[in-house]
Each structure stands twice: as structure tokens, then as C-alpha cells.
Symmetry: C2
């Protein structure tokens, strides 16, 4: 070792980035496929934009977060930056394609944020977003309802039924509340940002930020509290509609009417029960103009923290808050199992973003973005918790083609190649050893390590008689097929396919697809 020259560089990925390989890559790929299938089922078409944009396209879109944008070095020519999200490139595309007046588009791709990374929490500098957006002028709330329906389908296909909740609110309702509570116009966005922190800190702290940091009158803050601590469903909406002060405000009234429509449509889609109308949801980004939403899940908390200690802490602060504000039962945040847990998807309506690129191309949009890295972590933790006996496989090979022989055995390499050829051509996933004369135990070990479920074993005599042995891996001693079954070489592809299908049909969770299927039926 002392003789070897150490490489003169760090052998690592850049800060906040990581490689994805093996079963992790496979599981994440399944999540992408699941999400994309839902998008396509709703008529989504794919859009792919460059990973970098002209710097001026991104300028002025992200407020304070603009400092997190990665710039490309000026090497002559245009100044470019890595994209920060998929929404602004979509708006840029719409502005560039004025013949497209409406579109359902999906985009699954990486985005870049030069943030302080927190790998354990899944906050990376390079991460995937899966976006679905509907652009176009339509009757109010119809596309908004379909986007929320899509959200429910994605999480239900991922096996999260009953384990997630969609918090919704409306920017116009929120702005109306701030107006009737007496927030000065120029303070509405900063106060809105403070309210948005209610999922991470108690009201007392949020009030402190409003009054001490943002200079809001304490009485105004107290009036805000009587609204934003509420959450519920249609009955909360109905109650707000009887609030004469609120409904006298034009913005609030418009928001409440849209929310009424939306709930009607969500009911028609059969998903109203997944929705929590949450007046404290505000969302950070400036460009939202209508309904906003965030998906939270109990599962997004690490297993160790879902238990007593954290719950108690939450309970306490919740009680304190309630004693101060509480005039409603259903908005008790202390019972919210999702408190403190980050969102796994989020979105809303943004009617003015396309107009920022081309005033005459004003196209209203509504959409959602799924945070796949966090969805991945939660799904993987569940698979490991619930199916811990089974290791995750990294490839999907069905059969390992082996050979054995006695003294003078030549390894039968070309015969193994030929059998693999036949299997591949029949669409069977197959591997063989790259050794000229591999020993049989070596070949079994390779198949075992790869988690390959079947072996096709060539012997000289059997092959001469046009036969080959299929053996299921991992059968116990005494199993009738422990030694395998001789089949005709010509029917090998069909024999393998039939066995693979049979094994899949059994309650088998040895691959990721089935593990995800398992989660679905367990839920």
C-alpha cells in the first residue's frame, strides 16, 4: 500500500449529490413508472427541457431563493443556470409555443438547488421532481380537481392508501383573511410566510415572528389566529361562508366560492375524504394565485420518532395553543399525526407565471410536483420494516444458464451462449458465467448472489438428448423438485416463463414490483 500513489483528488460526488445504484435505483425507477402511468392515464404528454436555462429566464422567479441557483461558468457565449424547478421551464415553453393554448404536460427530471444539504432528511442539491400541470383557460376548478384526483391516484398506486392527507387552502381566502384582520397590504406576503410555518412551530412562536420581526400589531395577529388555526372539511367551509365579515371581502368571497366548487368536484371524483381544508397552509412561492395544496403522511417521519417522545412534545405545544385559541374542536393540531412532517407533494394554481415571459400569452395553469426522493425513503423504510426477511434485488434476471461436466469438461461456453441467445430472443431475462470453465458451485453462488430465481443447467449427456434441467433456486432439502426437472431444450423459454409467472403469482415478495404491490394490498 505505501508503494501506491494516492490519487491526487477526492474520490466522491459533489456535496449534496449522490449516486443511485442497485435495489435503490430499481425501487426509485418503479416509483417513476407508477407516477408516469397515472399521468398518462389522465392524458398527460411528456415535455423535456434542457437542464440549464438562460440565466435571465430564471431571474426574478424565486424571490429570496434565487441565491440557491447554480450558475454555469461564463466560458464565452450565453450565461446559463441549472434549472431550479420544472415549473418555470414549463412556463417558458408555453410562452415560446403560442399556438399551444392548453396542455396537460408531465415532466420527470432532476432540479438543482445550492442549498445546505441534509442528506439524512433527504434534502439534496440535486433531486428529482415529478410534475404534472394543466395549462389553459377552463371553467373554474375543473382542472384543479383533476390534479388533486391525480394526487390521490399516485399515492394509492404507491400503496399509501389511508396513510396520507392532502392539505388544501386558497390564496384568495388567505389574502381575504389578512385583509379583514387588518394586515397592511405590503405585509401580506411576509405575514403569509409566517403563517406557513405553523406546521413546524407553535402559534406563540409564529405570533412572535409576526409582531416582533415583522412589526404587525398584536391585535391583528390575534385576529389572524382565530382563523388560521382552523382545519377541517366541508363543514369548515360552510362555517366560513356564514362569517359575514369575511364574505364581505371580495377576495375571500371569490376564494370561498371556488373552494365550494372544488369540494363538489372532489366529491364527484370520490376523493373528498382525503382532503383537509387547512387555513394555515400558505406555501412559500410567490407565483401561486389560487388553490394551493401539500401532501403529508404519517410515514414521512422516521420510525423512531413516530412513537411516544415526539408525539408528547407535539401534544403539549398543541394543548397550549388550543387553550389560547380553541373555539373549534376539529382543528386541534395536537391530534395531527402529520405535524412536523415535511410534504411529499405540493402544488397549486399559478395564473400569471406564463405572462411573466410573454404578456400576451397569459395562460392560467394548475399543477403538482411529487418529491420522489422523500417518497422513495418512506417506501423503502416500509418495505424493509414489513418484509425485512427478503433482500431487495438489484436486477430482474429470471434464469441463470449453467453447465457442468466430469473430467475433461470443456465448460460448454458456446452451448451456454446459445441457450442464452434463445432465451433472450424469447424475451426471457437470462445470464451466464463469463468463465470458460466455471465450476457448478461457482455458478450457483453467482445466481444466488444475484437473487436469480431459476437455474437452467446444461449437462453433456442431457444436451445430447435435447434436454436441459430447470431448477428453482433455494428449495429446501426434501422438496420433490429440489434436484430440478428435465425439460426439452426447445421448450426451455416457455418452461422458464411459466415458472416465473407461477412464482410471481404466489405470495412472493422477492422483487421490488411485488413488494410495491404488497404494500398496496396491505394498506
Amino acid at each position: 500500500m505505501p508503494k501506491e500513489k494516492a490519487p491526487s483528488f477526492n474520490l466522491k460526488t459533489p456535496k449534496g449529490t449522490k449516486d443511485w445504484s442497485g435495489s435503490d435505483a430499481l425501487l426509485r425507477d418503479r416509483i417513476f413508472t407508477t407516477i408516469a402511468d397515472v399521468f398518462k392515464r389522465h392524458g398527460g404528454t411528456a415535455l423535456d427541457t434542457p437542464v440549464f436555462e438562460l440565466r435571465e429566464i430564471l431571474a426574478g422567479k424565486y424571490g429570496e431563493d434565487s441565491k440557491l441557483i447554480y450558475d454555469l461558468q461564463d466560458q464565452g457565449g450565453e450565461l446559463c443556470s441549472l434549472r431550479y424547478d420544472l415549473t418555470v421551464p414549463f412556463a417558458r415553453w408555453l410562452a415560446m409555443n403560442p399556438d399551444v393554448r392548453s396542455m396537460k404536460r408531465y415532466h420527470i427530471a432532476k432540479v438543482y438547488r445550492r442549498d445546505q444539504p441534509a442528506v439524512s432528511k433527504g434534502r439534496m442539491r440535486e433531486f428529482y421532481q415529478c410534475d404534472f400541470d394543466i395549462a389553459g383557460s377552463f371553467d373554474p376548478m375543473v382542472p384543479d380537481a383533476e390534479v388533486l384526483k391525480i394526487v390521490t391516484e399516485v399515492f394509492e398506486e404507491l400503496g399509501w392508501k389511508g396513510r396520507y392527507s392532502i392539505k388544501i387552502n386558497h390564496r384568495k381566502i388567505l389574502d381575504g383573511i389578512f385583509e379583514v384582520c387588518g394586515v397592511p397590504t405590503e405585509k401580506i406576503r411576509p405575514i403569509s410566510s409566517a403563517v406557513d410555518k405553523l406546521d413546524k412551530m407553535p402559534w406563540a412562536d409564529v405570533r412572535k415572528e409576526m409582531v416582533d420581526e415583522k412589526g404587525l400589531d398584536g391585535a391583528v395577529a390575534d385576529r389572524i389566529e382565530t382563523y388560521v388555526m382552523h382545519k377541517g372539511s366541508r363543514e369548515l367551509l360552510d362555517r366560513l361562508l356564514t362569517d359575514e365579515v369575511l364574505t364581505a371581502n371580495a377576495s375571500a368571497k371569490a376564494g370561498l366560492d371556488e373552494m365550494t366548487l372544488l369540494m363538489d368536484y372532489l366529491d364527484a371524483f370520490g376523493v373528498l375524504d382525503r382532503i383537509s381544508f387547512d387555513l394555515s397552509l400558505a406555501r412559500g412561492l410567490d407565483y401561486y394565485t389560487g388553490v394551493i395544496y401539500e401532501v403529508v403522511t404519517e410515514g414521512s417521519a422516521p420510525p423512531a420518532q413516530t412513537g411516544a417522545p415526539d408525539a408528547q412534545k407535539v401534544q403539549k405545544s398543541g394543548k397550549k395553543d388550543k387553550s389560547k385559541s380553541g373555539n373549534l374542536e376539529d382543528d386541534d393540531r395536537s391530534n395531527d399525526p402529520t405535524l412536523g412532517v415535511g410534504s411529499v407533494a405540493a402544488g397549486g394554481r399559478y395564473d400569471n407565471l406564463v405572462g411573466m415571459f410573454l404578456p400576451k400569452a397569459q395562460i392560467p395553469c394548475v399543477g403538482v410536483s411529487f418529491g420522489v426522493d422523500r417518497i422513495f425513503s418512506i417506501t423503502k423504510a416500509r418495505i424493509e420494516r414489513e418484509k425485512s426477511a427478503e433482500a431487495l434485488r438489484s436486477s430482474e434476471v429470471d434464469v441463470f444458464v449453467m453447465a457442468f461436466g466430469g473430467k475433461g469438461f470443456n465448460g460448454m461456453l458456446k452451448e451456454r451462449m446459445n441457450v442464452c441467445k434463445t432465451l433472450w430472443e424469447a424475451g426471457v431475462k437470462a445470464e451466464f458465467s463469463y468463465k470458460l470453465k466455471p465450476k457448478l458451485p461457482q455458478q450457483f453462488k453467482a445466481a444466488e448472489q444475484g437473487g436469480v430465481p431459476f437455474a437452467a443447467i446444461l449437462g453433456e449427456d442431457e444436451l445430447a438428448a435435447g434436454k436441459v434441467r430447470i431448477k428453482e433456486m433455494g428449495l429446501e432439502e426434501g422438496h420433490p423438485e429440489k434436484e430440478g426437472v428435465l425439460v426439452d431444450l426447445a421448450s426451455l423459454p416457455e418452461e422458464v416463463k411459466a415458472r416465473v409467472a407461477k412464482k410471481r403469482a404466489q405470495a412472493n415478495v422477492s422483487d421490488v414490483t411485488q413488494q410495491m404491490e404488497g404494500l398496496k394490498t396491505d394498506a
Copy 2:
């Protein structure tokens, strides 16, 4: 218009990049899926690396082309650059994961080259590569043969059977030839680069470059010509093996022996007929150490140029060359339909690259990279040429759910939503109009524009009776089902599925999948 303020920026993508949308995005996606399916069938596992690497990881890997690397701006912290290919990140990953001694990995992702773009020729600054590589120490040429088998499967699944050819050569043979011809050691790589241009320029020009620019002795160049103008198959190999001068050279002998093995294995895989042993193939990149290959296709030439004029030009220069060198019949480049056509896939063996990152982790590798953008252009041109009557669809929606009614018709929005919900839940791709009260012709127009094959039409009376009408779009007047068929609402998903399946089974080419299938069977 004069009133509107023009945006203060260019509404475009950065130079050398483009957006992918609609049917182009869908066709490219199909190509990815086709390629990835082949990779998985051979036991490939996915690896995903960050789009940027530490700058020092890329340094010294690409020779002169290093100037084409995109750097990220120094915003504090590490210095990074966008990846130039997927091979160096794979080698970096192998060096970082010393417990992995062998692996079949695939990677489909974008790479970045700050080259002068030529959009019409498909040379972009951001483009996709689809890579498959086998890492590990194995018996010679076995994984190499499987990589070439994979190449044939990919192009045959893409419908290119009989329309492509794999040129192969071996770095050791080439180096041996240069040695026996008398090329000084330090000139071997530059002379090799000159030889590699023989697919783009006649021998006379290449000789000029060797002698005038690179200072090679003219007699040495003439000896090189007697070798590198040859192409053929096993008989060329056999002839070279009888060349006593050549086989006395250790490098050439080793290369010829490996090539013999490779041809044996390619024969076992049944793909030897797709191979052209081409002694002029040299490949630019420095890191190749063994077999090298490039896939060329007649289809990659623009249709207008496959005809007489270019062929004549080739013929002429070919004849001139032949008259000077020609002692073999089968290597007449003038008959090569692929002359002047860029490659659609390329690769080779690189045994020392991983060692550049970590000397003790020396892992030999062999792989291939598919140029999807060029494959896309050729495939699209073929679809348009052969199936020009059918427009390419951009989404895959099966059924458009509509409603109609008489005076006082309320639009049946919730009923349409509810029917869509049922269809989505059954996995049927469905859309509906986002208008509250859409007119029937509007709805038919939307379905037509989207290329949706079926309409499900709700009428108030039919719905009350639990019925819905299915109508195939685009049926001619007089067709017995022109007015559609009434079916039970409860069986709508099954009825739609059956009709979609039936339509697919017919010789129908209205979607990209089928168009690609069509190409396959046409070939």
C-alpha cells in the same frame, strides 16, 4: 401589440439545446424503453450519477476534447463540471465502491459538450446517451461478445434489421500494424486518429495528413495503406493470421487471437453476419485498450443523399484509392453504403480507466453507448416516409368522455367526472372537457385533435337507464357502428378495453408503439 412591453430577455433555450415535446418526446421515450428492456434482459442494473462531477474527476480523461467541458461557476465550495459522458462517472463509481468487483450496469442520461452545435445533423450541446457496460475480470472476449449481441438486439427491436452494420476492430491489432509499418511510438496515437478519418475522407487526404501534418515517412504511410483499407469478416482475419510479419508482432498477435475468439462467440450468438471487421476503425478516445466498434446505418444518411450524386463521388474516390492500393476485392470502400455516415452507437474495451482513479482497484471494462438523438431522427424519418398518412400522436388517451342534451342541458360535468373516475380506476386512459356546458361538436373536435380513438357519450335519458354510448372516432358514413353502440354503464371500462385491444390488434399504426412495431415487421 405596440402597447405590450416586449420581454427584456430572449425567449429561447440555450444554444445547442432543445425542448422535446409531443410525439417526438413520446417516440424518444419508446426508444429509451426498447433499449432499457434489452439491457435488463441481459441482467443490467441501473446506475444514476449526478449531472455534475468534481472538476478533477473529469480532468485528463478526454484529451483535446477537455475544452468542450462545461464548468459550473465558482460560487464557493467545490469546483464542478457537467459530465461529458457516462463512462468516466461509471469508472469513478467503480473506484468508489471497491466491494463491487464485477457489474453489468446501464445508464440512460444526458451528457454535455460545449461543441459548435449542428442541430440539423443532430450534434447538440445537451444530448442523451444510453450506455451498457460490463465491469470485471473474466475470460477473454466473453463479455465483449455479449455487448455486441446486445447491440444487435437493440437495433433489431428498433426495427433496423438488415439496415445497420457493426464495424469492429482491435486496438492491439491496429497498434501492431503501426509498429510493423514503422510508425515511431510517439506518433502511434496521432497516426491512429488520422486513420480514423477514413470514413469521412479518401485515403489520399489521410495520407497527406500523416505525411505533411504529422511528419510520417511516406513509405511508412504507404505500408499502412496496405492494411487499413481492408475490411471483411472472418476471411480477412484468417488472411491476417497468415501474414508472418504481422503475427511476429506481439501486440498484433494478441489482438488477432482475441478477434478469433470474439468471432467464435459472435457465431455462437448468431450475430456474426452483422459484423464488419474494418481495419480503418480507430475511434478517437484514448482510453480504449482492446476491441472497438461503431454501428453505422444506411438510414442515417438523409434520403436525398443516398441517391446518385454522393454515391458517384464515393465511387470515384474509392476507385482512385483502389487503383493505388487494391490487392483485395472485399475491402472496396466504394461499395460501402455506410461511407460518410455517422455512427449511431459505439464503444469498446477500456481496461485501465478505473485504475486512473484508484490504482489498486484496476477493473477491466467493456461497453457500448447508443446515440439516441440520431437513432430518433432516423426512426422518425422512416415512420414519416413509410406511414406518412398517419399523424404521430402525442398522448395515448383511449377514450374521451362527452355529454350532450337538449334545452336546459346542464353539461353533466359531475356525471362525466364520475365516469372518468370509473375508467381511470380500471386503468383506462380517459379525458373529458373542462367546460361546464361543452357543446357536442366541441367535444368531438377535442377528441379528434388529440387523436383519441373512442368517445363515450352520456345522454340524460340513456344515463337514467344505466346506459352509455361508445362511438369509434373517424368511422365512415354508412358504417354500421357510425352512430355508436349503447352499452351498460357498469361495463363501460371493459367495453372500452376490448375495443382498444381489438383496434390495436388490427393493422393500425396510429400510435408510436405500433409504428415502431410496424417498422420491425416491415424490415
